[in-house]
């Protein structure tokens, strides 16, 4: 088969061809050369919402939108795995139920691959990071990612950042608070009610229940929600909250508290 003279085409057909590809194919084409990267930048004018995660492996979840919304679109999930896992992993998968296309990429340095893929996405698409789940990150891996975030001009705000703290990763929150220099978005959670919890060693903390997410910061909490919450609290929740993990079986007595 003779070579495909794609790059000799005028821009219009080339743009049409590029727009036929999915995000993974667009990224691979952009990686071919500087010229293909520039072509992709010109041809693809789309917004990409990104969620960063680390569930067993580094993950970039990307949702592309032309209209500004992101709910009805397919999700493209990049998973970065160590090259040693190549033999027992499918590199491409599509889950119809949640419309997620998964691309598993392999490298001797998955973190570097994660960062380079992130950089490429930001170069090619109009990207914004919607959420970062730092739950399973360690400080060593977080630092280069936060450094990249701080240095990325296109990244101004991360709307949602989550930590799940346990005895092993308390340093990650400290690291994030110390080093992250960009803005954090507001989710407009309404907190109305909570429980005081007491650890077996006597320490007391308050767990706030998030019952509702408002659409903007000025929206008032509906009275019915407040009423229902108070009714529940009156009934007495004498509950036991499991702190950390079930495995630790560290239990806390709790008592309801009206806020």
């Amino acid at each position: 088969m003779s070579p495909l003279p794609l790059l000799r085409l005028p821009f219009l057909p080339l743009k049409n061809i590029i727009q036929n590809w999915n995000i993974y194919e667009i990224c691979e084409f952009a990686k071919v050369s500087k010229r293909t990267k520039n072509l992709v930048k010109l041809a693809v004018k789309k917004t990409a919402y990104i969620i960063l995660n680390n569930l067993e492996n580094f993950q970039i979840e990307t949702t592309i939108s032309e209209s500004g919304g992101m709910s009805l679109w397919d999700t493209w999930l990049f998973k970065m795995k160590d090259i040693s896992e190549r033999d027992n992993t499918e590199s491409e998968d599509y889950n119809e139920s949640n419309r997620t296309h998964t691309f598993t990429l392999f490298s001797e340095n998955p973190l570097l691959l994660f960062l380079e893929t992130l950089k490429l996405l930001f170069e090619v698409f109009d990207c914004s990071i919607h959420s970062v789940y730092w739950n399973n990150w360690n400080s060593e891996d977080m630092r280069p990612v936060i450094d990249w975030m701080n240095g990325c001009d296109k990244l101004t705000t991360i709307r949602n950042v989550r930590f799940m703290l346990n005895v092993n990763n308390q340093m990650t929150l400290a690291l994030f608070l110390e080093t992250f220099q960009k803005k954090l978005g507001r989710q407009y959670h309404w907190y109305y009610g909570g429980v005081d919890i007491q650890r077996v060693d006597g320490k007391i903390g308050t767990v706030m229940w998030t019952h509702y997410v408002g659409s903007n910061e000025h929206e008032k909490i509906p009275k019915t929600l407040l009423k229902n919450s108070r009714k529940r609290n009156k009934n007495g929740l004498g509950m036991i909250v499991t702190w950390f993990s079930r495995r630790e079986e560290t239990r806390f007595k709790s008592q309801t508290r009206r806020k």
């Binding site: 003779s2 005028p10 049409n16 590029i18 691979e28 570097l112």
Partner: protein, 190 residues
């Protein structure tokens, strides 16, 4: 999709003559030219759809007789198809075509490249879009390195950060210069 194709022979009243770059004349039914926005606009501008207007041959300087023959074959096949409407082609994961189209476009890459340029020039959206999708399908599922092979890109610039494989500057023979055919098709000179 299949459409009935009654045989009609062009008559001087319902056809125009187009001349390819190598001087060969083709008699084109006006019905067929409706699929080409370039020709349709030209016919409308010069009122060639009127029987009392003298129709001069239309030179198509960018299209060879072989390409014109191929295009007429396409126009004939789609003669009774409904007007083309661009669907949302973005991020489609499957590239399936009817058997006739598969056979019609079972041609070498360089011929398909020329045909795409011709479809772009004549502004035949169904053919243009179909060839674009066929060409796109030849890249799908390929890694950057495999794409370099398909595109025949040779010159190294730097190493790929992921694989250590050289990233190559696109300076191969297959990329020398852009096509001379203009981006925005305009009616050919009379």
């Amino acid at each position: 999709m299949s459409c009935e194709e009654p045989t009609t022979s062009p008559t001087p009243e319902n056809n125009i003559t187009v001349v390819s770059s190598d001087g060969k004349e083709f008699l084109l039914d006006l019905k067929l030219t409706e699929q080409s926005e370039t020709l349709a606009r030209l016919i409308s501008n010069f009122e060639y759809d009127r029987t009392d207007v003298k129709k001069d041959p239309v030179p198509l300087g960018n299209i060879t007789s072989a390409q014109m023959q191929k295009i007429i074959e396409w126009l004939q096949h789609h003669r009774y198809y409904p007007k083309w409407e661009q669907n949302d082609i973005h991020y489609s994961t499957s590239f399936t075509f009817e058997t006739w189209v598969e056979e019609y476009l079972n041609i070498p890459n360089n011929e398909m490249f020329e045909l795409l340029n011709a479809a772009n020039y004549l502004n035949i959206p169904r053919l243009f879009s179909t060839i674009c999708r066929i060409m796109a399908s030849r890249i799908t599922g390929k890694s950057a390195e495999q794409i370099r092979t398909v595109l025949n890109i040779k010159t190294d610039v730097k190493n790929d950060v992921y694989t250590g494989i050289p990233i190559q500057e696109d300076s191969s023979s297959s990329e020398d210069g852009m096509s001379e055919i203009s981006l925005s098709p305009s009616p050919p000179p009379i």
